[in-house]
Each structure stands twice: as C-alpha cells, then as structure tokens.
Symmetry: C2
C-alpha cells in the first residue's frame, strides 16, 4: 500500500477511503469480473455487469478492505472477502428489485425491467453461490459463519419488511430489525470479516462489527428521514417515495405512536389501506412535524452515528481509523 | 442404527432406503423444523412448512445419510448435511416455481400462488442462507466447497435452461449441462458429502459422486421421456406438458437433429415461436416416433442408470450398496 500524500485534500471521507484502498479495489474488481463469468450461460455476466458497472459506491467492499488494513493484514484474502460482500450485495439488489417491482436502480432501468424477473432471481442465486465459493477459498470457517449469518438476517429482514411495512402495529423494535436486515447486517459483516481474516483479537473484531452495525443503521435512518425531509436536488430521490409506496419508516412510526384517533385513521387509510389522494403527502409531513417525528428521527440518526464513532475507540491508531470516524460524521452531515 | 429384519420384503428400493435411514431421517426432520423457524418473520416457517409438509420423497437427504452409512460414519453431522441438502432443494423449488410461474407442486397450489412471488423469492433466500449456516456447523470446508459448487451449477443450469429451452440450436451437450444443473448436481453433491463427512478415501468419494451424477441424469431423462411417452395414471403428470411449455428436452432435441425442412418448420413454430394448435402434440409425438427419438432417449436413460450401477463397484459391501444399485434399476423400470 503506497502512502497517500494528498489524502487530507480530498474532503469526502468516502473518497479518501477509495483512494486509500484503490490498489486493492482494482484487485477486487478483477476478481468480480472473473467470477461473474459463466461458461455456459452468457445471460449471467450480462445481468451482473449491468448492475456492477452502474457504479454503486462500493462502500461495503471498501469497508472490508479498510478493516483488514487497520488490523495489519497483509495476505491476499481480504480481496476475496470484499468481492464476496459485493456479490452478496448485488444478489440482494437483484432480488429486492423483483420483490419491490422496481423500475429504476442507480439511475438506470432495473435488470428485472431490461430482462425479466426470472433472470434477476436466478442470476441473484448464482452470485450468492459464487460468493460462498469465494469464501471457501479463504479457508476461514469463521468468515463463512459470519457471512451466512448475515445472509440469513438479510433475508429475514426482507420478509419482515414485506409483512410489517404496511402494518401500523409495527414499532421501533421491529423497524430496527428490518433495518438490520436491509442494511446493517451486511455493513457489520463486511467490517467484521476484515478483522477476522487479519486474525485480530476478539475485542477488535467486536469493535469493527459494532462500527459496521451502527454505521449501517445510521445510514438507513438518514435515508428514511430524507425521504420526507430532503432536497431532491441533493438526494436524487423524490420526496415522499416511501409514503407513496406505503412503507412504514421511522418518522411515521414515531408519528403513529403519538397519533390521536383522527390521525390514526389518516395513517390507516394512506399506509395500511393504500388509499391516497392529493394533499395526503403534505398532511403526512405536517403530522410528522407536529409530533416532532422528523426531529426525533434526526436525533436517532445522530445517536447511531455517535455509537459508530465510539465503537472505534479500541482500534489501533491508523489513518483509516480517522477516515472511518469521518465517515460516520459524514453520514449524518447530509441532515440539516 | 437398528438392524432392519424385513428390509427385503419391501419391494421399492426407495422404501427400503427410507426404512434403513428412518431413525436418522427423524433427526433430519427435527433439525429442519428447528432451523426453518424465524424469530421475527412467521411468514418464513409458514411458506417452508407448506412445501416441506407436502411430502416430497426426501430422496436427496436420504442419499446423503446412506452415503455416510456406507462409509461407516458414526458422527452426528450427516444429519446436518441431509437437512442442508433438503433446504437447498426446497429453496430451488421455491425459486423455480416463481421462474416457471407454476401453479401446482406436489399436488398442492404453489407458494407463489398461495402467498406471492416475493415470499417465494425471499423465503428461498432465507433457506439457502440457513443451509450454509448448517454446513458451517460441520466444520468441514470440503463440504462447503462441494455444496457451494453444486449451488452455482444449479443456478447456472436454470439460467441456461431459461435461455436455451426454446432455442432449436440447443444440442445434447447443452441439454446435459441443463440436466446437471436441474437435477444431477444436487444428487451428486448429496452423495459426495456423505462420503466426505465420513472421511472416506478419494476413490470412494469419487464413486459416490459419480453415482449421484449418473442417477440424477437418468432420473431427469426418464422424466423428460415420460412427458411424451408415459401413462398419466402412473406418472401423475399430463402427457405433453413440456411441449405445451415449449421446453426443448432430449426426445425433441434428437428429433430436431434429424428433421427435414418441413419438420424443422414445425418445431420452430411450436417450440421457438410458441404458436401451437390442435393436433400439434400428436404430430410432435409421431415425429419423435418416426425418428426413433423416444427409443433413443430410453436407451440413454438406461445407459445412465447402468453408469450409476457401475460407479458403485469400488464401494465396500453393505446393505445400502444393493439398495442404491436397485434404485438405479428402479428409475428406468418405469419405462416400458
């Protein structure tokens, strides 16, 4: 790893992280390209390439590489694990877009729209299998345990979201479980396996795992808040998407908890029954404001970001440690 | 394992096998029930139970148990592996029914019909993750390698089938690859991991793997043949389902290879373009007969069954060995 002289000139912590692990990420991208191939079924790399080349932020694999570096790892297998994490992430995106019947992802038509649901389901399965093949190459049973646990939590969280998202009885505990499945489980596994492959001690591995968990939750809470309180020009998303898709997220859960019977009827009609009319989104936002739900959600996001930072304390001093710290700051800096 | 006195009185080899591994299968069923639970998402056991309780033949997990026994295994982990194999099988069935838009499975409405495609996709993902968790409990990296390889072959075969099934250029090589994915890969992995967990030597493991591969192929070729040449009263399937679903299976591939231009046009219209009319199935069957495609397919099925039997040669003498032998005979005995 070459020393990066101008790392402090780059402001966004994500870009600093990318710069730091650039050489490794090249190896990860090569490995991904190699393993998404199929001797018999060209549809597989076609679909995979569509998603991979759309250029996600690659935050998860970078977190794996970063965690391995911070623990002084010098072997080759953090690259396998980073590719594994990206494959699992890609597989879940393919399946999510089928489940949500989405038409757009990363500014491009989804694979289920360009090809069909079948391709998305089966190519997702293929990538998931490939990710486990990659893991076996590391020879670490701990890594397999961590990532198969994470995969089960992801699938469980998705099923839970499907059944709970339109149910007003869904409380903050269930929301947290959904968020762990949707986002935090893979963040946490990504950082954890970086430490495990480096042979780090138990408390270091726990610190990395906790950091990923809290960062992932903060990330998702911010996302859910911006859906009601963001500027489209910054987020690239439309205000009210979750409301229109009848997804019960944290701001609404907080408002429902304080709703009088008339408000309860409003949420029941718009979210549970899905009967929405002009002006409903504005009414929803005004109810969120009335009950301080947006502000309370903002404080939750900040609290999770602070937990992420606190989790870093036991880690050794390292350039990457400060980048990870700044990353947690940055996640909530989008909120004003 | 209690000695089974009346094992020869039971004629069907599948029933003899079931009787032999009955105690283990009880443990497998308990483990399946335990691991299909979900703390948060009751939809998961609901969907899984619907499929598991429909009572498939459980042939794959029984093959794993049998293979472990034949190698003298006395540890507990063949039970985990048998449950793993059944979970992988169940996950692929859930996803297959989404991909094929099936309405019936094992004489009951499919999960995608009773619930929805989303539930089938996500519960399949959950079971797949659970299967990898189960494998890690065995502590055997070899087992993980074999079953993640098999999973990748399964998904690849399904993608290949999707793109190749309606393409008249599909030849017997591609068909074989599809069949390995659809059926033989999991049969072969099921027998192989039984040997591996027992610590059997390389040639024994290879023999078990070859047996599963050939048995699985024979099984699928018979299935594809009976679709044109079976009696509904025996197979429980309707003649011509594959034709109506425009699936290019071995009998048709053989007939297409010998088709004159008029016949070529017939296959192109009915299979590639999917424009079928009254009398087409009868014409298809008469073309299969004219070119000896049914007879040639029958001989292929028998040849694969014979390969399965031959593969057993290096295995130690054991009651189960003769059951496995008879199982290969039985698979093609449905053909007359």
């Amino acid at each position: 790893m070459e020393p990066v002289m101008n790392i402090t000139k780059i402001t966004k912590p994500h870009d600093r992280l990318a710069k730091y692990v650039a050489a490794d990420m090249e190896a990860v991208n090569l490995l991904i390209r190699d393993r998404m191939a199929s001797k018999y079924a060209p549809r597989i790399p076609e679909v995979t390439r569509h998603l991979i080349d759309a250029g996600g932020k690659r935050l998860r694999p970078m977190l794996t590489l970063a965690s391995a570096h911070i623990c002084g790892y010098e072997g080759p297998y953090h690259v396998h694990l980073a590719a594994t994490v990206e494959f699992i992430h890609t597989a879940t995106l393919l399946h999510d877009d089928v489940v949500d019947e989405s038409a757009q992802r990363r500014g491009r038509p989804t694979a289920n729209l360009l090809w069909d649901n079948k391709s998305s389901v089966l190519v997702g399965d293929y990538l998931f299998s490939r990710s486990f093949q990659l893991m076996t190459e590391t020879g670490s049973m701990d890594v397999l345990r961590i990532l198969s646990d994470a995969s089960a939590t992801i699938a469980e969280g998705e099923v839970l979201q499907m059944t709970a998202a339109q149910d007003l009885a869904t409380d903050e505990d269930i929301y947290l479980q959904v968020v762990r499945g949707k986002t935090a489980a893979l963040f946490s596994a990504a950082t954890k396996v970086g430490g495990v492959i480096a042979g780090a001690d138990v408390s270091t591995v726990q610190a990395l795992s906790d950091y990923g968990d809290s960062l992932g939750i903060s990330f998702q809470v911010v996302d859910d808040l911006l859906d009601y309180d963001g500027q489209s020009s910054i987020t690239g998303k439309n205000i009210g998407d979750d409301f229109r898709e009848r997804k019960l997220t944290l701001p609404v859960i907080k408002a429902v908890a304080n709703a009088d019977s008339k408000e309860q009827a409003f949420w029941s009609r718009t979210i549970e029954k899905g009967s929405q009319e002009d002006g409903d989104l504005e009414r929803a936002i005004s109810l969120l404001q009335k009950h301080g739900a947006l502000e309370a959600t903002r404080l939750d996001a900040i609290s999770w970001a602070n937990k992420a930072k606190a989790a870093l304390a036991p880690l050794p001093d390292h350039d990457i440690k400060s980048i990870l710290y700044d990353l947690a700051t940055y996640v909530v800096a989008r909120l004003k």
